[in-house]
Subunit: 170 residues, 2 copies
């Protein structure tokens, strides 16, 4: 068994070991999309967390301070969070890509009466407004309030783990 133990000092070796350990921990994968000034703005996050609060119903997402998408997204009246389904790994990769013009190529987005946009075929949809933002190290953590929800219980979620995308075992 490959076993790695690292403790501080907080040098580059330590930080890269922690990053690899973070990658081994499983998470869901979401897109956050909204129409801003007539254009769709989107980002993909694997640091999205549900159940941060039950009442008001809050979710959270950690965003790099250097993100250029978040300052635009947060200005929308509401943001569409789509939890990718197990058959959407390629879509998640494309929407997470560096080429912003290609992120939405061939992606069917569903509109709401507000600014939120959802990815067709996703397993869970949360329409969210920004509740609060706090600093956390080199990231900003946004707490979002869920103002509408849709679930497709027959669809299983995509799981991010070990730098790859996976399905849950049947």
């Amino acid at each position: 068994m490959t076993e790695t133990v690292e403790t501080r000092p907080r040098d580059e070796v330590y930080l890269s070991t922690v990053r690899r350990a973070f990658a081994l921990f499983p998470s869901g994968v979401v897109s956050l999309v909204a129409a801003v000034d007539g254009h769709e703005v989107g980002m993909v996050a694997s640091s999205f967390t549900v159940g941060v609060s039950a009442d008001p119903p809050l979710v959270s997402v950690a965003i790099q301070r250097t993100s250029t998408s978040w300052p635009r997204l947060r200005a929308a009246a509401s943001i569409g969070v789509s939890g990718f389904a197990e058959d959407q790994a390629a879509l998640a990769r494309q929407m997470a890509g560096p080429d912003r013009d290609r992120r939405f190529e061939g992606v069917t987005l569903l509109s709401t009466r507000s600014d939120a946009r959802f990815v067709e075929g996703a397993a869970t949809w949360f329409e969210c407004t920004v509740h609060d933002e706090v600093d956390a190290g080199d990231h900003t953590v946004a707490f979002l309030e869920v103002v509408a929800v849709r679930t497709a219980e027959a669809l299983r979620p995509l799981v991010c783990q070990g730098s790859g995308f996976h399905r849950i075992a049947p």
Copy 2:
């Protein structure tokens, strides 16, 4: 396909629909354990998030305001976070149980030179100190700094989804 769409008003029907939607989103499962005044104190969380910050390396966990374990845990010099492995579902259920005296029955805990205690056989271990705490609705979100890490890359993580525990498909 069972599809549920709910929007506000924020009544009990809406909140319970959101709770069910939250349960459908996948997450890892961790225990947080420390020795406090000579006794092991522990809790299990499915709202644990890695990669909240890269430098300093931060993770987060959302804790109900009514938790009686967290006020004791947060007083420890460091807290051991163990990410359960796929074969530890029964252990996770036991450690999440209401009977505090039985939580550690038969559980092998590994000690550190500090207060952190880890569950033997877990897939990932993060030794953490409390970096910050913020209010988020009816929960407190604790940001924890990772001061030591251990990974067992051959072990796959346990995934919590749809009110049950699952394995990642091979």
